[in-house]
Symmetry: C2
Amino acid sequence: MNSKKKFAVVLAGSGVYDGSEIHEATLALYSISKNGGSYQIFAPNINQYHVINHITGEEMPETRNVLVEAARIARGDIKDLKDFSADDFDAILFPGGFGVAKNLCTFAFDGVDCKVNPDAELALKAMHKAKKPIGALCISPALIAKVLGEVELTIGEDEETAAAITAMGATHVTTTHGEIVFDKENKIVTTPCYMLDASIAQIGDGADNVVKTIMAL
Amino acid sequence: MNSKKKFAVVLAGSGVYDGSEIHEATLALYSISKNGGSYQIFAPNINQYHVINHITGEEMPETRNVLVEAARIARGDIKDLKDFSADDFDAILFPGGFGVAKNLCTFAFDGVDCKVNPDAELALKAMHKAKKPIGALCISPALIAKVLGEVELTIGEDEETAAAITAMGATHVTTTHGEIVFDKENKIVTTPCYMLDASIAQIGDGADNVVKTIMAL
C-alpha cells in the first residue's frame, strides 16, 4: 500500500440537489486523510445549472458558480478543473450529488444522450489513458460510463439508472450499502452511497472502501 | 453506553467563513451515526450576517438564509431552531465555523460583548437546566461561555480567544488535536478542531471523541 497517494477530488458545487453531496465529499476526503494520502480539490469554473432550495426542493431565482460553491467544502483550497494535470496525481475521485448529473454532465436531464463538461471529460480520459485509478460514488459512475464506455461499475440497484448506464456501453453490477465494484482492467472503483436509502455511517463505509481499494493499487 | 442517544445538532449555515464548518458538521453526524445514535439537525430561520466567497474571502453582494443553507448539510431534513424542545433530545451539539460567531452570536465582531441569537440561547439554557450533555467544536465554546458563563472548556490554544472566554466567566483549558475538555459538573464536552491548523482526519478524531464521551454519559 502506497500511503502517500495523491488524490484529485472533483466537486460539482456544494449540496446534494444542485452540487456535490456534502457527506460523500467530506467522508471521501476524511478517508484519504485518515489512510495517509493527500488530496487537491478541483471544480469547473462554470455556473451551476440552477440553485435549489434544499428545504423545499424548489428552484431559487439566483445564480451560483460551481467552483465558488465547491470552495465551501474545500475551505478555499480549490483549483479550477481546467488546470488539472494527470501527471500530478495518483488517482482521481468523484463524489456524488445531483451536481454531477447537472453541472459535470447533463445526465439528470438528457440521460444517455447527456453532454459532458469538457474539463471533466479531459480529466477522466487523461487519468484513464495514464492507467491511474478512478473512484466514483453515488451517481458519478453515470459520468464515467458516458466518458469511458466499456467499463464495469455500480450505482447500487436503481433499475432505470442501471439501464441507462448499460445503454452507454458499460456493465452495471447491483450492489448494496458499502459494497464496491472494482473494474481491475480499467482501475475504476465505484460504490452506491446515497443512490441507496443510506445512513451517513454507510456513506463512510462506501467512501472508505473505495479509497482503501485505490490506496492498495 | 446508551447507543440510542438522540442528538440535536445545531447548524449556522453551510461553509466555514459564513456558516457551519462543513467537515466538522459532517464528521459529527458521521460519529453519531457510526456509534449507534440518531440526530435531528436544527438552524435558526434568519439571514446570514453576510455571504463570503470561499475562494477570495470577500463578501458577496447577496443574501442567504441560515436555515436554507444549513439544509444543504442536512440533505433537507432540518427544523427551525425555534421549534427545538429539550424534552425531545438526550444531547445537543454545535459544530464550529465562523457562522457560529456571526449568525448564532456576534462574537466575531463584538467579542465578550457579543449578542446571542435568542433561539440558540433558549436551546442551550434548556439543555443545561435539564442536565443534558452539550457538545461544542471549534469556536462554538465561545457561544457556550457567553450563554452559560462559569463552565470549563477549550478552543485549543489561541490566546486571544481563550482570554475572551475567560473574560466571559468560563475557564479555558489549552488542548491540541483531537483532545477534549470534559466539564463533568455541567456535562459540557469541547474540542478545538479547526481552531488549530488541523487535517480533516484530526477533525474526525475530535468530533468522535466528543460524541463518544457524550454517548457514555
